[in-house]
Symmetry: C2
Subunit: 219 residues, 2 copies
């Protein structure tokens, strides 16, 4: 049960682009925020510029409301010591122009990372870099056809809450990122700590990466 | 099943203060963001000033990392047509000086609201106004003693995922706000729409307000 590392990662980064999905970011970030009460952590928010980034994408058929989040670093001038990078999804992943700086940054940053995590269609963005080629990975079920088409050499796993392949963790749609982050914290800091954060957060975890209640809704 | 209103509320507001809990806000907000793809909505973010508000409270023993969110309005100059106001909790609720502008705003805004919603220790903030007096309400289980002490005339319900009393909805800790918001959307827009958003979000709902897996952890 206590298979966690003696040297768990403390330096985290999250990339943002217009039209990122709010819960893809703040589900996992809230777990880290609570963890930071016990363990000093760093968390950087990295985007194309330092301007606030909206959850709203300017694309047809997408959300008409949004909230704006302030980055701490740009893709051109990111922290160089990030150990764990999280890539969210969202309707903004369909905007190839606005996501390109983030995709380029992820590709450059990967070799120095200990772990790369994606939520929802964040795996589609990472798939474009080729970093997922030959890896098992998963993605959002409603966007399955589009997401998987971004990485024809990826071994896409359709029925999974999240998938671990080497040092890359990918989760299914939106809320699945929360379960993945609890599993990640358990693997690095120990199950006791993950469990205590879930109780504080009054969150009922799915601890089985293979249990996927949404695979049937594939689109 | 289709007991929803013919005139569901479309104008929403969320109040922020330093040290608000990220998931208290972005769990429910993400449900509304997705809803806004189908139904035009407005969502205002109201805080003491227009400066970005951090999830980090400057209080001992609290999170050492945080994310900053940009308000759209101040408590002094809020939109006057908000129908549904959501008050999050978080460790920042313990800072009576920094929460006072928000508390004053909620008290002034309430008579014109159709619904007031709280998540986690947001109910402790609202309890200070007296608006919950005589109402049934719930709150975060780990912070139960402190939260309930803020409203001695409130009929606090210990075992509940969320509680509805008149036009006031209060939820238990952090993640419970997501279940409450799905139930609220179901009541106003219909269960079909709430269910479809949950499938898009790959979220396993707790649809029973009386099912509370965390009442046993009361602190």
């Amino acid at each position: 049960m206590s298979s966690h590392r003696s040297n768990p990662p403390t330096k985290y980064g999250i990339v943002l682009f217009p039209g990122f999905q709010a819960l893809d970011v703040f589900g996992p970030a809230d777990v880290l925020n609570i963890l930071s009460k016990k363990t000093p952590l760093e968390l950087s928010i990295i985007a194309e510029t330092l301007d606030p980034v909206s959850t709203r994408a300017n694309l047809p058929g997408t959300a008409t409301i949004g909230q704006r989040v302030v980055p701490t670093h740009t893709c051109e001038n990111p922290p160089t010591d990030i150990e764990v990078l999280l890539v969210p999804g969202g309707t903004g992943t369909r905007d190839s122009e606005r996501t390109q700086p983030v995709i380029d940054y992820v590709q450059k940053a990967y070799p120095a990372l200990r772990y790369l995590l994606t939520v929802c269609t964040g795996s589609a963005l990472v798939a474009k870099t080729g970093l997922l080629d030959g890896h098992e990975a998963t993605s959002n079920k409603r966007s399955w056809s589009w997401a998987t088409s971004q990485g024809p050499k990826v071994n896409w796993i359709h029925e999974a809450r999240w998938v671990t392949s080497g040092n890359i963790w990918t989760s299914s749609g939106i809320s699945a990122g929360i379960d993945m982050m609890y599993a990640f914290v358990a693997s690095q800091f120990g199950e006791d700590i993950a469990s205590d954060i879930a109780i504080q957060s009054e969150y009922v975890r799915n601890t089985d990466p293979k249990r996927d209640d949404f695979a049937q809704y594939s689109g």
